[in-house]
Amino acid sequence: MTQASAMSMSAEVYFALGTAAFLLLILLAPEVRRLLDGRRAGMPTAAGGIELGALANLSSSAKPSPLQVAFVSLLAAALMAPMFYDLARDKEHWPFSSYPMFSTMRQRDQKLLMLFGVTESGDEINIQANDQYLTPFIHANIRPIINPLLGRDEQRLTEFLSDVLGRYERRRSSGEHDGPALKAMRLYQTSWHKDPAATQPLTLKSRSLLLEVGRSAP
């Protein structure tokens, strides 16, 4: 058995075990058992936040048909199966995911790419601080787009910065945000140090310019 197939097997085992454990949890729960106690006695119960008065109106014909049961069961399976699959494989298949956000360990020293706009007077503004400056992107989109291009595809990186600058200016001209006019866009590699015990828990250690793109002449 190759390593890949062994990993694949373990993912399937995880998946099956996860699904089985989840179902077991539901079926063995005391509340479900108590509910069934009530049902078998032919009487309504108060479990699950149900009004007894409303339950009294429930006729026997309200029992679900096999088709309804199959439909809801399939729907539950369609929700659980990809979620457990993604969990086992540590992958994402939107709208399903292993939901790994914040799961990795944070380091005290951190490098971060940052975009700054250069105003007519030469000042810099952090354009990731306002999503209106970046629309349709938000600040969280920027790094996943830039990171794979860095050091590999300078042409596209330049195209991206020009595009962000052009969009910013177009939106500013049409009154969609009130930021200052920009003449250039700069991409920096920044380095930060975090120390909870220090007087300043967060410090900028260094900042180096990677790329600058100017506004093309109108």
Binding site: F22, L23, L25, I26, L27, E31, V32, L35, L36, D37, G38, R39, A41, P44, A46, A47, G48, G49, E51, A54, N57, L58, A62, P64, Q68, V69, V72, S73, L75, A76, L79, M83, F84, H93, W94, P95, S97, S98, Y99, M101, S103, T104, R106, R108, M114, N126, A129, T135, P136, F137, I138, H139, N141, P144, R156, W192, K194, P196, P201, L202
Partner: protein, 319 residues
């Protein structure tokens, strides 16, 4: 809770049938089809779509339509279905229809058509938002909740449709399992999300996620300009108290891992659901990762019919 089933003089007999003889299929069916009041589902529909409409009303997806092709990184499902990025104009038209469908779904006007339209458009528009470098985890539940509601009889109460039907036939919908399973399906979706998030933390970091200064560094990190949108500047300040942040991390992990119990235990529900809600409020406040549309789904845990009946009983007593 054991329920009185029969009164004979002063003696109250209680249901006491052993569940051991019941098969897993019966338990499964009874879990999903426990009868619920149509008000529970109808009120959730009205509030969920109403709040979503207010939240998304100012959103504009049309900018995705005029980006260069190489920006587009379709999610596996979008790639599988071959869904293209439409032009800005077409996206604008779709998002207008989507916002209208959110509103008509909230009002319960032609509910089945409105919610199905809303689900289809949510899949494309919210899904498209994930195809440009970043998956926004909080958005997935919005689509899942809308899709679940679109497959249910959520328009039978608290809706214009129900009002018209009542005027025409004079009949009220009765409690039924049909009104219970959609809410429980939303519970299931939330439980799976939190369970996966908890297990992911253990997988990637182990217990060090709790026992080190990881949470502290996380909070401090969000003071970097432009990294998040914290509503409060106290996050980095909180990060200085490492034992406190370790306690926060431990609580987060425990609540995430135990969250599925909320589906089946009322006591667990009372503790876990508000705890998780408050944690997400904390993340939004201190770290600036917005969970606002995600948090609308917590409304599925509220027993609306009880609140309505309690209110009616109070009114009756006053009268």
């Amino acid at each position: 809770v054991s329920i009185p089933v029969e009164s004979a003089g002063s003696e109250v007999k209680r249901a006491s049938v052993s569940p051991h003889g019941l098969g897993p299929i019966r338990r499964w069916v009874d879990f999903w089809f426990e009868p619920a009041s149509p008000v529970d589902l109808g009120a959730f529909r009205a509030l969920y779509f109403g709040l979503s409409f207010l939240y998304f009303a100012s959103w504009d997806f049309s900018g995705w339509g005029d980006l260069p092709d190489w920006y587009y990184r379709p999610t596996p499902l979008f790639r599988l279905l071959g869904l293209p990025v439409l032009s800005s104009g077409a996206i604008w038209a779709l998002q207008t229809a989507w916002k209208v469908s959110l509103l008509t779904s909230a009002l319960g006007l032609a509910t089945r058509v409105s919610t199905l339209t809303c689900a289809a458009l949510s899949f494309y528009l919210i899904g498209l938002n994930q195809c440009f470098g970043k998956t926004h985890h909080a958005a997935a539940l919005s689509f899942l909740t809308i899709a679940i509601l679109s497959l249910s009889r959520c328009g039978d109460s608290c809706s214009i449709d129900a009002w018209i039907k009542r005027r025409m036939s004079g009949s009220e919908p009765k409690a039924s399992g049909e009104y219970g399973w959609p809410l429980r399906m939303v519970w299931l979706a939330m439980s799976l999300i939190f369970l996966n998030a908890g297990i992911s933390k253990l997988r990637h970091s182990g217990l060090a996620w709790v026992t080190t200064d990881n949470m502290s560094l996380n909070l401090i990190e969000f003071a970097i300009p432009g990294l998040g949108r914290p509503y409060s500047s106290y996050g980095p300040e909180l990060g200085r108290y490492v034992p406190l942040t370790q306690l926060m991390a431990a609580s987060t992990l425990v609540v995430e891992l135990l969250f599925p119990l909320a589906m089946i235990s009322r006591r667990a529900r009372l503790a876990l659901v508000p705890s998780m809600f408050l944690m997400q409020v904390g993340i939004t406040l201190f770290m600036g990762r917005s969970f606002v549309p995600f948090m609308f789904s917590y409304l599925a845990w509220v027993p609306w019919s009880r609140l309505v009946h309690r209110r009616r009983a109070q009114d009756w007593r006053v009268a």
